[in-house]
Amino acid sequence: MTIENEVVIEEFIRNHQKDLYRFAYSYTKNSNDALDIVQESVYKALKYSNALKEQDKVKTWLFTIIRNTSMTFFKKRNKEVPLSVVKEKSKAEKISKAERIYLKDLVQSLDEASQELIKLRFYEDLQFNEMAKVLSVNINTVKTRFYKVLEEVKENY
């Protein structure tokens, strides 16, 4: 007999609490909000466990829920949704090369959507197809956007 989705999801949640929290925090930048989002996402994931199509994709799937829950959370709060479309920055907005001594500053100077791509790829080690799932966009879009961001970083590093 196959193990039920619900069981797989709960086990993953229990074993990866910190990963889930951290991922929520990366959106909210605030501990209390991140906890709210984790609680809500855990509930949603179990309630809609049917929606998980492949059990080995449970991590990506939970990340997708956390991201979407964060987006909804921002919308409800009438906050600006931090990750909409990649915004083209004007030259004036760009910080001069001399100031960008550290990669961290460089990353932080990017728009939110670009930072998110770096986060998913380099910090969470997701594959492009997984990133596409989490971001609910086409895999080619993810690749194009990601390489564009990488180019931008390289150029200024």
């Binding site: 007999m1 709960e10 949640i13 229990r14 609490q17 910190k18 889930l20 929290y21 951290r22 925090y25 990366s26 501990s31 906890l35 984790v38 609680q39 809500e40 996402s41 855990v42 509930y43 949603k44 994931a45 179990l46 309630k47 809609y48 049917n50 929606a51 998980l52 199509k53 799937w61 997708t64 829920i65 979407n68 829950t69 909804t72 990669l103 961290k104 990353v107 770096i118 986060k119 380099f122 910090y123 799932k133 989490v134 609910s136 990488l150 970083v153 390289k154 590093y157």
Partner: protein, 280 residues
Amino acid sequence: MKDNFEALKKEYKNIPVPENLNDVINRGINNYRKEKKRMKNKKIFKSIIAASLLILSSFTIGVNTSESFAMTAEKIPGVSVLVKLVSFESFKIEDEVVNANVNIPAVEGFESETVEEQINQEIQEKMNMHLEEGKLKAKENKEAFIETGGKEEDYRPMIIEIDYSLKSSIDNQISFAVHYFESMASSYSKTYYYTIDLEEDKLLTLKDLLGKNYEDKINQQITEVLEESPSEYFQGEMGFKGISENQNFYINDANQIVVVFDKYEIAPGSSGEPEFIIEE
């Protein structure tokens, strides 16, 4: 380039985690469990209502899968009773969340109009309840599908089918099933069985057919079958633990009593809705 990000990754992974994270996770899980329990209780409550109706009209409820068409007991050779099983209400729903094909039956020609009405009303109410619940579930599921990363254009509406089948019509007795089926990521189905003594205008129970010791009789026979092929059924905690008070059953064409279980009740989904012929 990736290596350059190692230090940042480390920093990212070192975000301090609040002490109460575990409590928050547990709260999320418990909220879900509580709701699940509430849904279950709701179902139990409904079956209690159903059970009390059973006592009033002594009637049986059950499960089955077979497809069916409008049938009348009249058409079966050798049957002279005028009671008919007819299609009472037939319609389709096609919208963005549900595709439903509904065909609800009714019985006709009873001597006692009260009993006839009672049975028909019961069937109507049960099927309308399932249909409404199904529609609500479909709506929620669509929302969840989108929220959990699905694309609007990939969404397939829930399929709902309500139909009935005449199981047998022998002497002054008819047995039929009313079947509710829904299918999404997983499928759900529920069938209600009615076996009626037409001479007495009475819904029959297993006790009526097999006598006082009906439980022992049935349990013993089912246990024997289960032991022959244990791999097809759940074992231990989840396995068969005796028939329930309102065990589903019908009478087949060979005038045998067939006891039926819900899908997943005593066996994995692959075994469908197990049926057992009971020798009298």
